[in-house]
């Protein structure tokens, strides 16, 4: 099993930025905690895929992107959506299927689209990868200096659409990052049941793309790898494949734990929880006195306030009506 790597501060990072990483991860975690409560209370009426344990991957990407850069995300949408600057209020409203949700409430958690923030989403496994390549192509053709990032899981690597897109991206040197969160599971299938080779980044190498496998629970490592990849893309040097190893704590869909229902060994789950990307980084920052507990508390209060506001916004929003939808097809 992958060992948690050491945090290493690279020269280009200042304390402000490093604290930002933390705050973003904390924010995503706290929103997830609140949403999980909603799910447990059976308030959510659409399938919800949580990202507990996968905050560093999302934030490591998000912190490298500009608003006009694009990401295409998956069914496991919350963390990358928020990390890319997606509106929290609209996300909560969407997950509650309210009219002021980011997709008007009719998409739910699996369709967190926010075109104004260049966030696109597909709940079809691998479906978004080629779409991200298309966005990258549009940046090239419109001579924009932007980058497109495709988020996908280890499961998506099994779909041929990835290979098709890798070939095209490599051929055309598209300004794109393939970002695979390898959490070793697709629904309940462990990677060993469905893959001949577990190091998924090897596929990208077959297309002569630079491919790197990193510890996806280490925010500094993720940030650095994505930075390099995004720079390459912005400087017209083509696409990069990043495989970030990580783990999801909860069941595939829903708010519960898999070891409770016997789907995964408790030991495995606990081991990964002990490698929490947020907690481990917090410890590191505290140790290096880059942050102190008072600041953390302040962050929490602040985030709590935003969360409360988001729920209030959602509460005030009505459900959409079918009549209103007729115009949009």
């Amino acid at each position: 099993m992958i060992q948690m790597s050491k945090f290493k501060k690279s020269a280009d990072l200042d304390n402000v930025k490093m604290v930002d990483f933390y705050r973003q991860m904390l924010y995503i975690r706290m929103v997830s905690v609140a949403l999980r409560q909603s799910a447990l209370k059976m308030e959510l009426k659409c399938p919800v895929h949580f990202s507990f344990g996968q905050e560093a991957t999302a934030v490591g990407v998000g912190m490298n992107l500009k608003k006009k850069d694009a990401i295409v995300i998956t069914h496991r949408s919350h963390a990358p959506y928020l990390a890319k600057g997606g509106d929290l209020k609209k996300m909560i409203a969407e997950i509650y299927n309210k009219k002021d949700g980011t997709s008007g409430g009719i998409g739910g958690s699996m369709h967190l689209n926010s075109p104004e923030k260049n966030i696109f989403c597909s709940a079809i496994v691998s479906g978004g990868i080629s779409i991200a390549a298309g966005l990258a192509l549009s940046f090239r053709m419109k001579r924009k200096n932007n980058v497109a990032v495709a988020f996908f899981g280890d499961g998506a690597v099994e779909e041929g659409g990835l290979s098709e897109t890798l070939n095209f991206a490599a051929l055309k040197k598209l300004p794109m990052v393939f970002f695979c969160e390898n959490n070793m599971y697709a629904v309940n299938s462990h990677i060993s049941e469905t893959k001949a080779v577990h190091e998924v980044s090897r596929i990208a190498r077959a297309y002569d793309l630079p491919a790197i496998r990193i510890d996806g629970n280490n925010i500094l490592e993720v940030y650095k790898a994505v930075k390099t990849a995004v720079n390459r893309a912005r400087n017209s040097r083509g696409s990069t494949f990043i495989e970030a190893t990580t783990y999801r704590w909860l069941e595939h869909v829903g708010p519960r734990f898999d070891h409770i229902s016997g789907l995964r060994p408790e030991k495995e789950v606990r081991k990964w929880i002990s490698r929490c990307p947020l907690k481990s980084y917090e410890k590191y920052l505290l140790k290096k006195t880059i942050i102190n507990n008072k600041e953390i508390s302040k962050f929490k209060v602040n985030i709590e306030r935003r969360i409360k506001a988001a729920w209030e916004y959602m509460d005030r929003s009505p459900y959409p009506k079918l009549k209103q939808l007729e115009k949009i097809i």
Binding site: K45, N97, I106, E159, G254, Y319, L322
Partner: protein, 349 residues
Amino acid sequence: MRLISYAEAINEATFQLMDKNPSVFVMGLGVTDKSGVFGTTLKARAKFPDRVIGLPIAENAMTGIALGAAAGGMRPIFTHQRMDFLPMAMDQIINHLAKWKFSMGGKGSAPVVIRAIIGQGVGGGWGQACQHAQSLQAIFAHIPGLQVVMPYTAFDAKGMLIASVCNDAPVIFIEHRHLHGLKGDVPRKMYEVQLGKAAKLRTGKDVTIVGLSAMNIKIKIAVDELSKYGFDAEWIDLRSLKPWDEKMILKSVRKTKRLIVADTGHKSFGAGSEIIATLAEKLAGKLKGVKRISLPDMPVPAGPTIEKEYYPCANDIINAVFEMYGKKPVSNREYMKDSEPEVDFKEAF
């Protein structure tokens, strides 16, 4: 009388097929899971672990693999958790599976059964949205070389799965998530329900109501309610969509002169269009009223209230009959809700 659920009927049929014929095997995402695709692969998995094969997420190639295995003498049952993932496999389904026998001048056979589940929350708040709740039977039915079945009862689920697997031509076997929990009287032994035959579930003279899959839940309510208003409806569960039982429907509509087709898919270019067009060709001038009840021509929205608006309900069927008889419509969407088995959020995938 032996009441078991629709899902259990499939579970049992699968096991019995595999027990009888070592060429039968199950493949699909999640078929080896504890939950066993809503419980339908559990027995097979327990008894024949070597013949229950979990797959990578690669619908197109896996369909080709099913086809190749069938060409090699196996009889695969390829299970999909959602019908929405079949578009990934369309090349293998449309260009290969459907044409296998034909492109060999009739010599080959491709006994592949593809189980596809419609992920609709017919009236509840299941929130699957536009990529997880499609009902694409019309597409498959359009392709020569494919058979398409949509059993409604637990009895038919078992008998038609057995008939499908024993059939030499490919079958798209369509289930509806809301049917899995429905119980029915299912014999323990193996039996076949012939593909291509409809089932008359109620005899009547005023209107013929043809239902597909879970729409029969709503028709059941509607015909009872209609009889209170003095309308005597004939209710036919189509069961097989390709080929479909033209003879039975034709006979019924000759009598009633009115036809309603209630379908789980989109209206335009949908399953109902075919039934109605065929009847119109045969009975032009004699038809007094025809109508499709189906999903709007709009992707499936998610949301507890909008789904209720979106999916048709018993009330819509009742009003269609009223309209044919020039009677004022009633408005009582409650006719729908009773019919909905609750679906646990746990199973939202």
